[in-house]
Symmetry: D2
Subunit: 367 residues, 4 copies
């Protein structure tokens, strides 16, 4: 059992030092994660007793595994919010990220991006570097894909999420994307996680296809321990014996994660579905179970998609997805984030600057 | 591949005989399931060509496994409705069945039953015969439990669902219950399924804890083939590597089943959850994914429950469950069934007879 | 935790009563399984201390789940032997049971049975009642199959193992077979297990396709608690995500079971393999991991088998199986049982009666 | 379906070009993997017909997934051998690799290494870079560990296997180790696989904990496609619902892999076992099922091991492992490789040079 000790951030160094000394003698393996969070191994009650007279100590709790910084206990039950452009993934609103499995061309990406924005979705996804089971499958456009994503962001105002595969690409990807996605197959690529912990850019960490909830939180801990607190988890289906769809969407894990961690949790219904007709039901299930958002593969012409077309939601169905999601999120006591256009309208009404986005949009429509 | 041939029920015997002859020569293993449904092995297009001139033939389709009678194709895409007392599980409304894991005493059962009815749930569950992993665990009250269920039904007006374990108990259970439940561990107890096929009483068939969707439909086929069409399927979580809850609720299977079968599909969130806090999120996920109902373990005093108390939803939370479910079902384009009380009120307004139920309820309240 | 108390069988009633009283006050839920084995819930050390002065108490140990009678602790580490005709499944020798998936005809069965005997295998398997996923698949010859099995037993001298599906068939099956097999899909058919516990005939209990080792031992406990100690367990592959064979043979479970139970453990490599070429490697793996025997589907003409022909080992390969198994059992510190013919030879050399078997064999050869 | 075309390596460029042209017109997606192996998508029979008159074409076969270079078909059924120092993993003999989970100190490593060599094992394993679920667990000695491994190799004559985690460490690891291991969690770290494909140093690729056999072969294809043919696969247990051991050792996958690939396949029984008592039974099962070797965690003092001590085989049990393995390999029609000492003796008898190893060994013994 790991004991988590949360300290008032306003405590001075003397107070902090005294807490550290007392905790170190009451427990073992004391670790100072940051100014607000310590942890130790040992008996929670003994540690709590040793710290009883310390006013700077806000809480002493016990967690089942050493995912200290990811635990709800480390934030005293408060929920974190992670920026994705102007949208904030977290308790304030439900976030919908949509876009193609992989960036195929500028035309393809812009057509999809415009539809994503027009449907009121909040961010654009698209793979430039694609991890593929076979070395002979399409591996993505690489750096060219990154440039197209940056261009789509400029033209639509949508923030961009894309996958990072190689530690040596981190800077390039961080230059083009608002959020770096770690795919399921890399969830325990600790080398990559550690480097992303050093970055100051939001990260989306997908659960491995047979990773337990605990292992997912420990993978998150690698990023948090490096000091990068802008982290979102993503459930995307686990591998089971069932083969009537691609992966088993684990809504139970979503509900458990919402209890155990302060980090936002979103869901990828597309990879779990493996087929278009299941995408919306799974997205709705995720929202009703309490997820903070979904990331959906969508394409303007699934039949010609270079990758995963079978599971792509046609962009023409995005409005249906959005309106049904707004009902499902209600069941979970949540509301949808306003759309990019909605935010602009509010700003215009307030007389605030709104940027070049309408022009870009117009230019796109002209194409 | 199995080819399903649907025939107009108004066809006369000559027409039927001709279709049978033609189908038998175009395919192999011809089987006459009933006057409306035939099946054969072979090439769908060849069979369709052979039957092209037969006006009585309504459709010739292909299904991946021989669950002919369970298939959506056998009903031309129409959805079945299964009676549960006055409530009808199926497309007309979302059904909530609630009650204790096992019947423990008359007092316990009636207290819970009244709360179930008052919350607006539609039916009462409760185990009289309990299948338990260990021979030393509480095995249920048996026949005494059946009598208590019948009494609770009489007093509350709620129809009753209870589990059947032994073919030799079928008559007794059918006398006391409105719907007989086959538990997950008996999903492939073909002896039991066959006997239930001969019964004319609704059956609730739970998916085995590692049964595929196909196997579930084939188990259903055993009941349907016997002539019992009053059958409801139930997803209750599958066994996977994850251990942060009890079983992995498979919302994907719900969505797939709704595509492949005309049978109603409900969900048991309680056994999947294994812990109270997850029950409502999982129930909401099921409703949003398109389930036709849920069956929830609920208890007035979970701490003292003789079985599965850890996962029982306190009856005081049933109203919250009902109101949130009505939002989640909206996302799936559904509405909730009216409550028993609601039905009575409608009848009274119409001047129809409403039975002894208010008295019974009153008597209960006096206790 | 369950505490197991083993008592010297020679203890008199007074001694036993005193032990019962003392154990009941030191632990809770005291249970007298039989004259030699008690169990209680509670702290092992407290119970042991209470019984320290009782000479009739041979051991007080702790087991992780309440499979008291199945536990190694209940037999003080000794291993059980279960009779299968003249062969004894257990530590004295490795047992090979072979035969067709299902009895198809007298000719088929006798041809296979003769080959099984001639290869030196120890018993004949064959299904008369077949549990099939689909109601439309061949369900076995039923009672006619039982008669054919009895005939094959008479003609070859091989004891017979066959499956029991329905509690109402137990007497008939017990009349024709030396060992009644409970299939994987019925492992938690507690009604059936309880009835078999009342029988005095050997039972072969197959592990469910997603049953844990603990659940398997608890299912065994149902039979043992009824007083039937002639019980053999069988690992036959579990359901996982892998699909390059039929089920995942769990040799780890074999090794764990050999540590946790005194019951013999055999392995069915055929259902795990799903394809002929994998059967021998899996059988060898089972033997090397410490199994007490294997049960193998074998057919004289797999291409025409009415069921599971794809995984049937041609009878012509049985000699190879036997000779390679004798090497693999050596790695586990075991030897093979002598063949039926070998036993007869030993008896003839000793001047003991050998029965009508050679005549029967001759008659068969004449056919 | 992928069609594999194997060409005589002695074919001249004209012949090769003609085969390429013909194959490209008969199939699609033609790919020239190397001078001996082409592949195409399409109908095998059509491609074979197009190439029927080409004498340089040795075979045209069909495989279920695009793991062309890893397939048995690409080598016409011949089995590959991969050098590990003087030992050769492959059909000529069974290979045993043993050593600690992680290198902890020079003293620890040398004591274990000497015992590994003295027991007749063929190679030393030991982790310098350790992938750990938690960022707070011991992560290995890093470069210092590599130096200790090189020293142990020099002193014992044993070749060394160690894990590589980070593409940026490849050169360093390749300098110290004879074989680079890719761990299960990195099996689909395609960045790493691709870099190892460019290396000319043997690689040991562990199956991911929920990777299918097909995905494992496709991961291998990444390395082979880069031109590195020195590749060994390793089954190490998969993740299932069973929790009475750590992972489910998949002996069925070993048997399937031996049919589908020419690459050697070894087994890690230690991670599957998770506990010492199961290691030898699982190793024996692997050998009997046809594995080409085992890699076993072994320690001189498991109780103090910094990592995975619970599953470490005490070095004092290595002789038992070796002698029982030699029986189990016999069942699979195999023999054990000679030990390092055995090889030296043969060389000395032949008057060949044997190097400084005895001195080193002596020095070690003096410590």
């Amino acid at each position: 059992m790991t004991v988590v000790i949360v300290i008032d951030e306003r405590a001075d160094q003397d107070q902090l030092d005294r807490v550290i000394d007392l905790a170190a003698s009451a427990g073992s393996d004391l670790r100072v994660h940051n100014r607000a969070v310590l942890s130790a191994s040992g008996d929670r009650d003994a540690v709590a007793a040793a710290l009883a007279a310390e006013p700077a100590v806000l809480s002493v709790t016990r967690i089942p595994a050493p995912h200290v910084l990811a635990s709800s206990e480390a934030k005293l039950g408060a929920l974190s919010t992670v920026a994705l452009g102007e949208c904030h993934i977290g308790p304030a609103g439900f976030t919908v990220i949509a876009g193609p499995c992989s960036v195929e061309s500028g035309e393809q990406l812009l057509e999809i991006a415009a539809a994503v924005r027009d449907a009121g979705c909040h961010a654009l996804r698209g793979g430039a570097f694609k991890p593929r089971s076979s070395p002979y499958a399409f591996q993505g456009l690489g750096r060219e894909g990154l440039e197209l994503l940056a261009e789509a962001r400029a033209m639509t105002g949508l923030p961009v999420v894309t996958e990072i595969l190689d530690v040596r690409d981190i800077e390039d990807v961080a230059d083009s994307a608002d959020m770096l996605q770690v795919g399921a197959r890399n969830m325990q690529n600790f080398t990559l996680l550690r480097e992303l912990g050093r970055l100051r850019r939001p990260v989306l960490l997908k659960r491995g296809l047979s990773a337990t909830v605990e292992e997912t939180l420990l993978a998150a801990e690698y990023v948090l321990e490096g000091g990068n607190e802008q982290l979102v988890l993503c459930e995307r289906g686990i591998r089971t014996f069932e083969n009537s769809y691609r992966f088993t969407l684990d809504v139970g894990a979503v509900a458990v994660l919402k209890e155990r961690t302060h980090l936002p949790v979103i869901v990828d219904p597309s990879h779990a579905a493996g087929t278009t007709s299941l995408v919306i039901p799974l997205a709705l299930a995720a929202a009703a179970a309490g997820a903070d958002g979904v990331i959906v593969e969508s394409h303007h012409d699934p039949a010609t998609a270079m990758c995963d077309g079978k599971q792509a939601l046609p962009v023409t169905r995005l409005p249906e997805l959005m309106s049904r999601l707004s009902l499902a999120t209600g069941a979970a006591g949540r509301t949808m984030h306003p759309s990019v256009a909605g935010r602009r309208k509010v700003r215009m009404l307030r007389g605030e600057p709104v940027g070049a986005f309408p022009v870009a949009a117009a230019r796109f429509v002209e194409n």
